[in-house]
Symmetry: C2
Subunit: 203 residues, 2 copies
Amino acid sequence: MMCVRRGRPGAEEDIQTMNTWFNKFGFATPSGQCIDPDGKEIKPALEKFRDQINQSNDDISCCLITLMSHGREGGYILGKDGIGASLEEIFPLFNNVLCPKLQQKPKVFLIQACRGGKRDAGVSSTDQLSIETEDNDDVDEIRRLPTASDYYVVYSTQKGYVSLRNDVIGSRMIEIMDQVFSVHGMEWHIGDLFTKVCTQQIW
Amino acid sequence: MMCVRRGRPGAEEDIQTMNTWFNKFGFATPSGQCIDPDGKEIKPALEKFRDQINQSNDDISCCLITLMSHGREGGYILGKDGIGASLEEIFPLFNNVLCPKLQQKPKVFLIQACRGGKRDAGVSSTDQLSIETEDNDDVDEIRRLPTASDYYVVYSTQKGYVSLRNDVIGSRMIEIMDQVFSVHGMEWHIGDLFTKVCTQQIW
């Protein structure tokens, strides 16, 4: 866990909450306490954590990496000196080549940070809610929604990579979707369907 | 549904498969048949589709937008003339401001396209599989994995936007995680937990 405290009141509360859940879920924390590094120390700290995992003799079923700090547009998380580290360079540190110990194990990243300076003013919902106040008058209140919500985007490949299509059968993702939907399409939640489509493309 | 056929053998099979599932799931297709546009026609075609949704008197429970074509690094999907349209400009066409009819309804995007030119050579798994061949000899086969798999990344905000943190309580996402995990943390799948965290941040 990394948490930058400087200029981030509320950080201690986040650390406390995360520690509670680390304990409840039985996560070990080989890198010791929460770190609060400079920008250039972020990647080496994660590499050290990764190497400890690789060298461990224990069975490891899951890895949770929590990064809480200021952030900047373009995928940067900042150290306490305001210097950024690129998330696109951080994620691969734990891939199947560099972290064989975590092959086929979930690698969960929690990124609590800004991703730019835009603020969403939201939009009035077309729904109206009647709510009861303490003196029991009905008051009409208009819900506000974020500008964008309820999106579910499925890509056939990872960012930067080619996508597979067979000249005779058609695209690989569509083929696997067809297989998975044929068995589970009328019963499962869309999230479970596409998790299955994703894993089935790997094997 | 959009599907570029030029230089994409197998495209007809994809269209057929998708049409089967559009029908099975009972999707109406107000924009008619599958389109095969030039690059500059993609956004106007989607705007027309969106306007038909907005003007519909029917209840609409879900919207599925399937875009199948060549693609290019940086988030571009190409028309049949090779001119690209930016996905970052396409997604907002259906947001809560521009498409009020779909407020609180799932907007599902299937993007079957390349996202760059990289090819993943993969990595040998640390597992070994014994498989039986037709003549019943046991053969050791080494599984190959993609370089990156089993990642689950949670961001506290949308790309480009600020993230909320209360000076006293701590970060909004961590606060909601704590609430959701307290009720469901020991029972639910991680995907369901963070779907709940996401929706609870909206309301």
